[in-house]
């Protein structure tokens, strides 16, 4: 084949251009620290990376959901513990008087204490997180036990909240209920042991020194204490499920970051070697181009 100086020049330019492109690509990887800087660098990896990114965002959101839910559940736990302790006091007092007594002072004393404890139960039942009542079902803006005074039993609804529970997402396709409606804790007219009403009856029975009624009501208080214990267990189970899920999410997040990192993070040592090789090739191209283009028959005429 006949080779003209223009062919040589075009070849040189073509090769210089190719070398430069490769150098530039390596340099971009080193400078950005990433193997892929645009989807066309490798569409398959790009799709994976963006998928991992989406999944990471979702995972982080679930972690944030769990963090926030934990505040609610811890608050609920504290309140339930308070209710449990109070019920223990109620039962202890009730036990001292199951046989009734003619000592009016003692009865009055007991009634005063029970009334205070009843107030305490209602107060704890009205616990708020920020401005939300934690024991009023989904009616979080309604005060669930809105009475400070003892009313005749059966005249008013004791519980103003509803029985609905709200759930949140803690992992993909995994839902956890957040609240325990008050009717499952202190009970309501229709659900479970209506603790406040039964307590009102106990107080009334003690006032009347009605031994049968006192025994019956004391028994109800035992059942009430069990009802609260069940709520405590339910809540504790939720907290531990969230802990487990949180650990799994942290694991998922780690894995996602590692896998994405393996694909995306540039290997500087490898790139540096490639860079050196490419640089040598590039310099050789430049040098040979410079030398060959200087030789001409003109020099010898």
């Amino acid at each position: 084949m006949r080779i003209t100086p223009n062919i040589t020049m075009q070849n040189s330019l073509y090769n210089i251009q190719r070398s430069r492109t490769q150098l530039d690509s390596i340099q971009e990887k080193i400078a950005s620290g990433r193997n892929y800087n645009r989807p066309s660098d490798d569409p398959v990896s790009a799709r994976l990376l963006v998928g991992f990114g989406d999944r990471l965002r979702v995972t982080e959101q679930h972690q944030s959901n769990i963090d926030k839910a934990n505040v609610w559940l811890k608050m609920t736990d504290t309140a339930l513990n308070g209710l449990g302790d109070t019920m223990y006091e109620v039962n202890r007092l009730a036990a001292t008087i199951t046989s009734g007594t003619d000592d009016l002072t003692f009865r009055q004393n007991t009634v005063t204490q029970l009334t205070n404890l009843r107030q305490q139960l209602a107060d704890i039942g009205n616990t708020q997180l920020e401005d939300r009542y934690i024991f009023s079902g989904t009616a979080t803006d309604t005060k669930p036990y809105d009475r400070n005074v003892q009313l005749p039993p059966g005249t008013t609804a004791y519980y103003a909240g509803n029985s609905a529970a709200s759930a949140i997402e803690i992992d993909i396709n995994s839902i956890e209920t957040l609240n325990i409606p008050g009717d499952q804790v202190l009970g309501s007219d229709t659900t479970g042991v209506n603790i406040l009403e039964e307590l009102d009856r106990l107080i009334e029975a003690i006032n009347n020194n009605d031994v049968t009624a006192i025994r019956a009501q004391a028994n109800q208080m035992e059942l009430g204490a069990q009802q609260i214990q069940r709520a405590q267990v339910t809540n504790a189970t939720r907290i531990s499920r969230l802990d487990v899920t949180a650990k799994m999410l942290a694991n998922t997040r780690n894995t996602l970051q590692t896998v994405a990192g393996n694909i995306q993070t540039a290997d500087h040592a490898k790139l540096a070697v490639e860079m050196t090789q490419q640089q040598i090739a590039f310099e050789a191209t430049l040098s040979s181009t410079a030398k060959i283009s200087q030789v001409s028959l003109l020099d010898y005429l």
Partner: protein, 465 residues
């Protein structure tokens, strides 16, 4: 025939080597002229005469000045030019649009969608929280803005393609009339004498330029003119017939562009003045421009529009369902404006704009009910909007990558063909210099012949004296 014949022969040599030196100088001068083919003098012995019983030559003469030229190579270059014109234009446009979808380097629509649905998760934890409600609206606005940005970027690219037709058509028309004009010059020149080498080179070069813009076929006529024709799905048309050139023009299409400006159709009035006829170009830069405008970019835009429509329809269905309630306990209404949704027009409904309490997080009229918020938050994982968008991103990446590969291959092929053409027709300075020395020596020899003949003549004349 006497000594004077030696004068004549010497003179013919001088003349030939002078022409040869001129051709060499033309070659050297045009060493870098695009499309130039090197030329050479083809010499021929002058007709012999019979003298003293012997047939003897009468010197040398120029038979023809011809160019080194391979018509097959020209055809290949023309075809390769069409392919490379199409591919490189396509790549250029795709590379301009790729950054819009570059979710690897920066957060775009994909991230905005994820953030939007995450904000519903936050709302599901605290359905009565004002901050959470504000955040849903803010994230929705960011997502809407991202939709607008992507839509506008693609739509702008479509408009730019449309507008680029004007200079492109102007270029093609100029090339066509130049070719027709050269046809006339070549015909006239060659009627008088020899080959119009330079003009033929120019014409070949113009045809290659034209072929990069649209696929053409060409036929050389006996009178030296070249006819050029163009074929696409709508028919076959004569672009140049002899000295007559056709011309392209732009006409408004009834269907406007996404941004509302006029969509152009390419029309052709052929070399005989018939037309204008609407073309359907699919080759060369012209074809690439139309294909990018009407198919590829439009396809991306349609995908984004469909995504926007799904996002709006699915969310509104939940948000305005009969079992949805806002913070005031009123039934929920639309979240996004439901009218004619595209990525360009997606917007928040007046119902929720600036009124976060109208966000329907509940499926029962209680402040703490979060069921609707939870259902909406899960829409993305259920319906996979992010996946759809990621797939679109990967598609754009794949399109760019395959265009890059094709262009790279095309460049290598083009370089190979150019090398072949240069090998055949390109000027080599070393070769020309060697030739020049050769011609110079030959010229000197012819001159010496005349000097010698003069001396011989002197001898003859001295004898007579």
């Amino acid at each position: 025939m006497g000594i004077s014949a030696a004068f004549e022969i010497g003179k013919s040599g001088l003349k030939l080597f002078q022409v040869a030196a001129e051709v060499t100088s033309e070659n050297i001068a045009n060493v870098n002229t695009p499309g130039y083919s090197r030329q050479r003098v083809v010499s021929q012995t002058a007709p012999p005469t019979t003298h003293n019983g012997f047939p003897l030559g009468t010197g040398v003469r120029v038979q023809v000045v011809e160019r080194y030229y391979d018509s097959l190579l020209q055809k290949q270059l023309v075809n390769a030019g069409t392919t490379s014109g199409y591919d490189s234009h396509k790549l250029g446009v795709l590379q301009q649009i790729e950054p819009v979808f570059n979710e690897i380097a920066q957060d775009g629509l994909g991230a905005a969608m994820n953030d939007f649905y995450s904000s519903w998760q936050d709302l599901s934890i605290n359905p009565s929280g004002t901050a959470e409600r504000q955040s849903v609206l803010a994230k929705a606005q960011i997502m809407v803005d991202q939709f607008h940005y992507v839509s506008r970027s693609i739509s702008d690219a479509i408009t730019i393609q449309n507008e680029s037709l004007t200079p492109l058509v102007g270029d093609i028309n100029k090339t066509l009339s130049d070719i027709a004009q050269l046809n006339g010059y070549i015909k006239n020149t060659e009627l008088v004498s020899g080959n119009a080498n330079e003009m033929r080179d120019q014409r070949d070069y113009l045809i290659r330029q034209l072929a990069e813009k649209m696929q053409v076929s060409f036929v050389e006529n006996d009178d030296g003119t070249t006819d050029i024709s163009y074929t696409d799905g709508s028919g076959t048309y004569a672009l140049v017939t002899g000295t007559q050139a056709g011309s392209l023009s732009l006409a408004a299409n009834a269907v406007a562009l996404p941004d509302g400006s006029t969509r152009y159709d390419v029309q052709l009035t052929d070399a005989s003045g018939t037309g204008p006829t609407t073309l359907a170009p699919t080759t060369g830069k012209l074809g690439a421009t139309i294909v990018m405008r009407d198919t590829v970019l439009q396809g991306y835009l349609d995908d984004v529009d469909a995504l926007a429509d799904r996002v709006v329809t699915d969310l509104n269905a939940l948000h305005s369902s009969v079992t949805s309630f806002d913070l005031n306990g009123d039934p929920g209404a639309d979240f996004f404006d439901p009218a004619g949704v595209t990525a360009a027009t997606i917007s928040l409904d007046a119902n929720v704009l600036g009124q976060p309490e109208h966000i329907a997080a509940a499926q029962a009229a209680f402040a703490g009910d979060n069921q609707n918020a939870l259902a909406i938050a899960r829409l993305n994982s259920v319906n996979g909007y992010s996946l759809t968008y990621d797939a679109l991103m990967a598609q754009v990446g794949l399109d760019v990558q395959s265009a890059q590969t094709v262009v790279k291959q095309g460049e290598a092929f083009m370089k190979q063909l150019t090398t072949l053409r240069d090998s055949q027709s390109g000027v080599s300075l070393d070769e020309e210099l060697a030739n020049l020395i050769q011609y110079q020596r030959s010229y000197q020899a012819s001159a010496k012949l005349i000097t010698t003949a003069t001396e011989m003549m002197d001898v003859v004349l001295a004898m007579v004296r």
